[in-house]
Symmetry: C2
Subunit: 202 residues, 2 copies
DNA sequence: GATATAAGTGACTGGCCAGTCAGTTATATC
DNA sequence: GATATAACTGACTGGCCAGTCACTTATATC
């Protein structure tokens, strides 16, 4: 029976969106609460009505970032395409994510370096990684069973694929002119898939 | 004819070493100049006799970090082993570096996220990347010429290898229990090498 | 239009810390 | 041991900013 409609969900989104923009432009430390306030069209005091601290905003952003990414990847296991095709589909999903989140890149890497110093952040990254691993391992294991791939530890293959998927954007940070995330992820994954198909298991 | 011997080189090293330890424990923002002073056994004022600012210390550290790594990698091109062997040798060098610099990991990733916001840092990363690329591209190109590898763009192959070499430590940050940097780099590189040798170009 | 209360505000404060500098100590040279 | 000067010190300051709170505004309900 409150005399006003609840706007808290709306405000939270509003603040997180502003924070996303400000953080990716300035980084976490350079970004000021007043910047987020301005960007969101609210006052600094109002930010504190919806979030306890700057840290809480960061953590919320992290959740949102990985939640979006994981949701997109969760619908892949039970198709009955070949293992190779499914790896390629998975790859395209990841590429799509990365392209649409190019603006998030600075934030993503900032989180990674935060992970060394904050248990909570470490946790989020680990569960993200493990969900990836679970998916890819399952696909590779199936490929091995069906004789599509040579007999290799699926975990090793999944880590190699993960390294290409995550390592290519990292190289892009090193040199944005030379590295093109989509095409270089594709060629890297192709090489690994070739490696998985050919020869004998060492 | 100075009445005292010049200790500035010694002091600079002393300070950089202390900074390395402090930064990797606390990260750049949490680390205080007073922490570095204490760790180095000098006073805060003395730090400013040898470095203009905290930033200058960070930049010096960055230089030292990549300089060490690059020096180890510069002696590889003119051997006449097979391209595959040379890639494997190169891989082992990188692994050695990474193992001996495990403690630097947090700093390395902190630099990477700094790169988005500081031109100078970006520069250092780019030249590091390009030196890597030059070496690996040359090896791959030679392998292609000799018919050891299938005909593929050496740049693509070099980026794929770089992605595995840099991406594996990144996954290690995500989940230090699951990922073992040396063995997973090795298996990733093997997969790519297999991919390079087998089949036809696509 | 009176009341109640949710929503919002922004000047202010308390703590922190990079960087300074007036003063101290150490030692080479005579 | 007197002098000169390089090396060093650490209490202090000025600026910055996360977070606060006394106050204002908006609006639902009667």
């Amino acid at each position: 029976m409150s005399p006003k409609p609840d706007v808290s969900e709306k405000r939270k989104k509003q603040i997180i969106n502003a924070a996303q923009k400000v953080f990716s432009e300035l980084g976490f430390h350079e970004a000021r609460m007043s910047d987020i306030a301005e960007e969101s069209g609210l006052s600094k005091g109002t930010l504190y009505l919806y979030f306890e601290s700057k840290d809480e905003i960061i953590l919320n952003l992290l959740d949102k970032l990985f939640e979006t990414e994981l949701r997109a990847l969760r619908k892949l296991i039970d198709q009955d395409a070949s293992a190779e095709d499914r790896v390629l589909q998975y790859t395209e999903r990841v590429i799509d994510d990365m392209v649409s989140m190019q603006a998030w890149m600075p934030i993503a890497f900032e989180f990674i370096s935060l992970a060394f110093h904050r248990e909570t952040v470490q946790e989020v990254l680990r569960s993200y990684f493990q969900e990836h691993m679970k998916t890819v391992k399952a696909i590779v294991a199936q490929g091995c069973q069906r004789g599509e791939f040579k007999d290799i530890d699926p975990e090793e293959a999944a880590i190699a694929l993960g390294a290409v998927l995550e390592g290519t954007p990292l190289l892009w940070v090193y040199d944005q002119k030379t590295v093109d995330i989509p095409s270089h992820i594709r060629s890297g994954v192709h090489l690994i898939l070739n490696g998985l198909k050919s020869g004998t298991g060492e």
